[in-house]
Structure formats: structure tokens, C-alpha cells
Assembly symmetry: C2
Homo-oligomer: 197 residues x 2
Amino acid sequence: MSSLLEQLIEAFRILPGVGQKTAQRMAYHVLEREREGGRRLAAVLADAVERVGHCERCRDFSEAPVCATCASQARDRHQLCVVESPADRLAIEQATGYRGLYFVLQGRLSPLDGIGPREIGLDRLAQRLAEGEVHELIVATNPTVEGEATAHYLAQIARQHSVRPSRLAHGVPLGGELEYVDRGTLSHAFGSRSEME
Amino acid sequence: MSSLLEQLIEAFRILPGVGQKTAQRMAYHVLEREREGGRRLAAVLADAVERVGHCERCRDFSEAPVCATCASQARDRHQLCVVESPADRLAIEQATGYRGLYFVLQGRLSPLDGIGPREIGLDRLAQRLAEGEVHELIVATNPTVEGEATAHYLAQIARQHSVRPSRLAHGVPLGGELEYVDRGTLSHAFGSRSEME
């Protein structure tokens, strides 16, 4: 096997969920059938790792100092949705009709890993709430232990600045069958039941 | 979402088995945690698509005109193993103690797709058998309809040049349970049973 090929297989392994076998398949596939696409991927990737930084308003990925969403005049500046990651932000943007702005923590509070409020940009968030433009802080951190702790902290900050905090609803997923829903979710959904009209 | 990020997600989709969601995850992962690895992948990939060609002896991938295996003095030049793809060649090299040489078809006979003997290098293979160095042609094409047709064709070429053709054994996989083996394999294994000593 050629040494450059070995290097290519090894290099593919940085991708998430890609082990030795998949990396091999990727390398062979590109060399056999996708040289043009491979050339393009190499160029875009080299460009992106150098030039994609973070938006100084929302901390999402952005080439420009301020991302397109934050710069847009069409978005409602009174609502701010806080998410843990760019992927979460994208999921909400694609699934909902939300027209407000976002704030991307790029993480969650995790004192044991040395991730405190500063590391996830909460000083900057507090500053922003102090400006008075935001009326509602939509807390969309993940429903994990760390995400919940972060949510509580965010709610506190919001109240300190007289901003109304809200939280995504948790419960049985649509189309899910009760039988297969995990106990924690089912228990929460049962406790949070609402009256039918 | 930044446009360079969108381009990166799109570029990742050339990889086998990578759809929109996985491409997103890859792009975010590289930008969040693997910029150095991403830089390296971009460089190696750009290099590989330009410089990795095919060995002129065995048609496997190689940077040099003749690959390391074909150039090696330690390999047995009397045995030649024919495989469909570089991945098949690697699988045999890693799983068996085979010390002979290889010939990589980079495909299989498929007249309907316009893939005839020339396209998979059989003219070059015949030439090589005519040189008289090879004594055994080990036919390791896949046990599919096209792979079997290719195997028969290869056996004919071998016999024309007084080379002994052989074929990998087919049957029940080791560790497999009869109950779960497909009918074709089971039927073949039953028909090809051998006497126990």
C-alpha cells in the first residue's frame, strides 16, 4: 500500500464516527470515483479551518465578525434563544418558524471539566440582556443534568435583568409510543400533564 | 449559517455513506475540535488526489510507477491473486499469510455497463501470464453473478497459458449459524461437502 494512501486513511479518522474500516472506504472511494470532489473538499476544508470563526454577537460559526442572522433586519430582536451548540441552533432554525435571534454557548456549565460561566460566554450574555432590547430568553439547552443546571443559571441571569425566561416543553415525543418512552420522560410528562379543552 | 460552512457541509457529502446530517456533524466537529486535523486532512487529500495513481504491474493504487508489493524481492512471483478492488486486496493481505503477488481488476466484467476485458486490464494480465513466471492464478473475485462470470473468464485465460487457476472456497462462514446463513450459500456448502477424516 502506498504511504500517501496510508496517510490519507489516517487523516480521515479525525472525522466523528470514522474508524479504520470507514476511513479506508472513504479513501478508496475518493481515489476511485471522486477525485474532483476530493479536490474540492480539500480546498474548502483548508479554507474553512482558517477562516471560519465565531460571530461576536451570538458566538455561532461565522466568516464575518457578525453572522448573517445577527446582522439581519428581519429578525425579532426581542427574543433570544440560547442553545448549546451550532447544531442545536440549526435544528431549531430548520424545524420551527422562530424569527428571533440566537445565542450559542458552545458548551454547557460543567465545573468538573473547568467549564464555568465565562467559558460559555455568560458574561457577554448578561451584558446583552443589560442593554434592554431582549424581552424573552428562550432556554433551549439539552435536557441532560448539565444542560438543566445551565438552564437554571440562565433563568437566574434573565430574572436579574428583568427578562422573562422560558424553557422548551419536555414530554412524550410526537409519534412516540408510551411503551417505548424512557421512564424519566414518561414520569415528567405525566407530572406536567395539562387540562384538555 | 455562514456560506463557507455550507460549502464545507456540501463538500463532505462526496464521501460514501455521508448524507446531510452526517456531513453537518463532520463540519461542526472539525471546526469545534479538530482544526489541526482538518488542516492535515485537507493537505493530504489534495496531495493524494493529484499524486496517487496505479501501479503499472498490478493496477493497485500507488504513488510510484510500481507499487511496493510488486517491487518487493520477498514475494513469491509464482502466485498471482486476482481481486476486484484495492479494498479486497487489503482484506486478503491483512487476513491471510499470502506471500505472492496481486492483480487488481479495478472492477468486474459487466458488458451491460460497457465494462469488457480491456477495461479491467485482462489484456495486460494475459501478457503477464504469457511471460511464464506465474504458476498459479488465485481467483478471488466476489461471489456475485458478475464476479463469477469474471472468474470463469479468468480461468479460461489461465488455462490458455498453462497456468493453474484456483478459486477461494465458498461455504458457511466460520462462527456462523446455519439457521442464519442465506439459502444460496447453504445450498452451495451442502453440495460441496467433503469427507471427514
